[in-house]
Amino acid sequence: MSLKKLTWSVVSLLALLAVVLAACAPATPAATEAPAATEAPMATEAPAATEVPAATEVPATPMKVEVFSWWTGGGEAAGLDAMIKVFQAQYPNIEFVNAAVAGGAGTNARAVLATRLQAGDPPDSWQGHAGQELIGTYVQANQLQPLNDLYAAEGWLDVMPKTLIPLISQDGNIYSVPVNIHRANVMWYNPKVLADNGIEVPTTMDEWFAAMDKLQAAGITPLAMGEQWTAMHLFETVMLGTLGAEKYNGLWDGSVAWDSAEAKQGIENYKKVLTYVNSDAASLTWQDAAQLVTNGDAAFNVMGDWAEGYFRELGKTPNTDYGWAPVPGTVGVFQFLSDSFVLPVGAPDAEGATAWLKVAGSKAGQEAFNPVKGSICARTDCDPALFGVYLQSAMADWSSNVVVGSLTHGVVANDSWKTDINTALGLFLADQNVDTFDAALVTACKTSGPCK
């Protein structure tokens, strides 16, 4: 009796061990499971044996596409659902698997995705900020396929801005399909506060400084800012406003040095802009900071145009409670960011993934997604009637302006470079030392960017 008991416990133990080992070494499960099977031949009716054939014989399964994103709540999730409906109508025979991971701006999702890719288990397609955030991370690691043929076949090159394409390409290869467009260089203002103080909406840096001096003298907080990433958002727009589109692009492709006179001037301007900012910036979210403007506690706020969705949520009226203009110095330039989808090397179901990309780039797909999400289409041929008054103005600018990319939102710099800039910026916010900041930016460009 007791011997049998012992045998039993040893057998179950080995089985347990096999499970543990199988979990950590997926390549060799067969080898570890084998001894457990041989030691217990007469003991049981061997249920393991019946499971094996079921697992090996998988006949032609229905097509499936697993799409990975961080759209789990609010307008984003609703927009994704709307786009999935379009997909299912066009491809009823492909099952859509929504593999979304929650977490702000995809921080958690990207960590999960990195783990999956390192384990050789890519989803069929995933969401990423268009530009260097995707290229610097995934193209660098040979995980993505170029999509030039798809762009040509679907005619997307004719319906997307010409200046956009280089920003989402590397060495002439396009690597993602942008679904939506947000604008980063928007300055929100309170029309009443400006009118009360006799201020016209500034269009150049100098006009902006003059306006903010006047507001400060009147005891009004001129500019609302929030936590550290909003400070980086402000930084990129001030750099763009100072350098102009061409030289701003040069900072990111290595043709304009970070210690050049223009770049230094940009940092000096940024330092000056910071003197007009509310003192409790570090404790505010971007929503808190944006709300200061609509409440009349501050005159200006620089934030991407998702702020407009937030203002609407608060029940504010465009052009009465809030107005908008390009950040001073950036008139005629559209600093964009975009969520886009990719085609990985070794996608388990490449055909399904391509079908998804076709929907993501199509007029129907983008018109389903964007009005709900509160962004504009990457295509320039969407119907303006679907959108509100702000988004209509953004659409007009999108099809006519020079397009440049955002730093904070992943277009112009890869993640490593951006992290280094973020550290340098954090130190600058504390010590306000222009030379140290500039030196750190030069080093960051050498370590992780294109600078030599």
Partner: protein, 297 residues
């Protein structure tokens, strides 16, 4: 067949083996792997184990941000551990006076420990709102309405000392736990000792100074170790109160950003190995001391 003197021994070995194997792989194996990664130049999505020696560590100690981290960790640890010990001891002594309502207050003081750091962080984020003027709120508003204007301050947005404000929230959370430890210690000191001291003419203050506090010193040590390793690893509380911003940076936040936002896996591993070493310096002597004591008993 093999013969064992004692089947129970075999059985118990067999039963603990899975846990030992799991711990060996999932804890010690991964620690070893992290150390290996910290000596590599791995940057980017895919592993790159090219050996670079101590380069990552040397760069860290030259890094201005890491110096901020060290400064913040020291300030946080001193304020948090010191504050929790003092407040915990004070509350324990008050509760030890056999006054009515002891159970109620004991539970009240202990209660914050049951809350997660995230919840504490969100509440204290509201309390420690640094806004002034018409938008004043939280504790600053309380001080304002009580006429205690000199107490109004910028809390965690104060330059240099801001991290100490975060430590206040941590003290609120953990002092009840320290109190429970001290109360246990106080209750184990026999009344005869106090009586004897009183007969010898010692004042109450002298009793605490010469008898009770020395007898509580093992508890103080335990509490210091437990609070100390919490403070070295703090992450969630800071992120919940202030987000990820550099003036309140600590090694754990730096490690997260550098590894998962920036893909500097080598550097991130180096930070976590350093954290592990510092925590071990604190914890291992304590564990040895405890094991030795248990062996003596």
């Amino acid at each position: 067949m093999l013969k064992f003197k004692n089947r129970d021994t075999l059985l118990s070995i067999a039963l603990v083996t899975p846990s030992i194997v799991a711990v060996a792989i999932f804890i010690y194996g991964f620690i070893a792997w992290s150390v290996r990664v910290s000596l590599s130049q791995w940057k980017g999505l895919l592993p790159d184990y090219t050996w670079v020696g101590l380069k990552n560590y040397i760069e860290l100690f030259r890094d201005a941000r890491f110096q901020v981290d060290i400064r913040n960790t020291i300030i946080f640890t001193v304020v948090f551990v010191g504050g929790s010990l003092l407040l915990g001891l004070l509350m324990a002594i008050l509760l030890d006076q056999n006054l009515p309502g002891e159970t109620f207050f004991r539970n009240l003081f202990l209660f914050p420990m049951a809350i997660s750091f995230i919840v504490t962080g969100v509440v204290w984020r509201w309390l420690m709102n640094p806004a002034t003027g018409s938008r004043i709120s939280g504790l600053n508003q309380l001080f304002d309405s009580l006429g205690l204007d000199f107490l109004i301050n910028r809390w965690h947005t104060t330059p240099f000392w801001g991290i100490a404000a975060i430590a206040l929230a941590a003290i609120w959370q953990m002092s009840g736990y320290t109190m429970a430890m001290y109360l246990g210690g106080l209750r184990s000191i026999s009344d005869e000792l106090r009586e004897a001291a009183r007969v010898d003419g010692a004042s109450e203050w002298q009793i605490y100074q010469h008898i009770i506090l020395p007898l509580l010193s093992p508890i103080t040590l335990s509490a210091m170790i437990i609070l100390g390793h919490i403070s070295l690893k703090v992450f969630d509380l800071i992120v919940a109160i202030a987000g990820k911003q550099l003036p309140l940076d600590v090694p754990a936040i730096y490690m997260w950003q550098v590894t998962f936002d920036g893909y500097f896996f080598g550097k991130g591993a180096a930070i976590s190995v350093l954290l592990l070493v510092v925590v071990s310096l604190l914890v291992i002597p304590y564990i040895r001391y405890n094991l030795k004591n248990e062996a003596d008993v």
